[in-house]
């Protein structure tokens, strides 16, 4: 059981990382990007915009926590 937990923990840290909200934001952004592309709407700007906003929010949260 310990090995399974360690294995799953490894993949969690590998894919999700320290803050699950960042991973969730990017996952949603990718899904919305895909949906926009399927709807024939230019969506190349969405992922960078979400990444920049998410980075700003987590930095702001970290700075406030200090």
């Amino acid at each position: 059981m310990r090995y399974i937990t360690a294995f799953l923990t490894f993949w969690y840290h590998f894919i999700v990382g320290d803050d699950w909200t960042i991973a969730a934001s990017i996952a949603v952004a990718i899904a919305v990007t895909f949906w926009l592309v399927q709807s024939k709407i230019q969506a190349w700007w969405l992922l960078p915009a979400v990444a920049i906003l998410t980075l700003g929010v987590i930095l702001w949260r970290a700075a406030r926590a200090e």
Partner: protein, 137 residues
């Protein structure tokens, strides 16, 4: 502050495990990328040869300039690696969502420039915030 090389007489096992984990993770990422690109083009063999050639070239360059590399502050290395990973990650994630980047692969350079500008802007804001908190202004 510049990093000072430590004595190499004994192995720091904690640092060794951290470095090993980092190399393993990055190696795994490279394997994923090579297999993905190779499979998409139906050229896994050529992709593997390209990956090995890249490993030899990058490893060789790193070995040649190891003295200079060891003097770069660790934080700046992390900063640069973070920028590159974020740029490539975003580029490929968007391509995975079937996005057509304006300018094709050259969009990578624009994306890198935008991410670098953003990172430096956030850095300036954080420094300003830290100064304000310290001086109470």
């Amino acid at each position: 502050m510049l990093w000072q090389p430590e004595s190499q007489e004994k192995i720091d096992w904690y640092a060794f495990v951290i470095a090993f984990k980092g190399v393993l993770l990055e190696g795994l990422e490279i394997a994923f990328i090579v297999v993905t690109f190779g499979a998409e083009a139906n050229q896994v063999g050529r992709a593997a040869v390209g990956a090995v050639a890249a490993l030899v070239v990058v490893g060789g360059i790193a070995f040649l300039i190891r003295g200079w590399l060891s003097r770069i502050p660790r934080e700046w290395l992390r900063f640069a690696v973070g920028l590159l990973l974020a740029t490539f990650g975003m580029f490929w994630a968007a391509e995975g969502a079937l996005v057509r980047w304006p300018g094709g692969d050259l969009a990578l350079l624009g994306l890198l420039a935008v991410m670098a500008a953003t990172a430096f802007a956030y850095l300036a804001l954080l420094r300003q915030n830290a100064t304000t908190n310290r001086t109470g202004l």
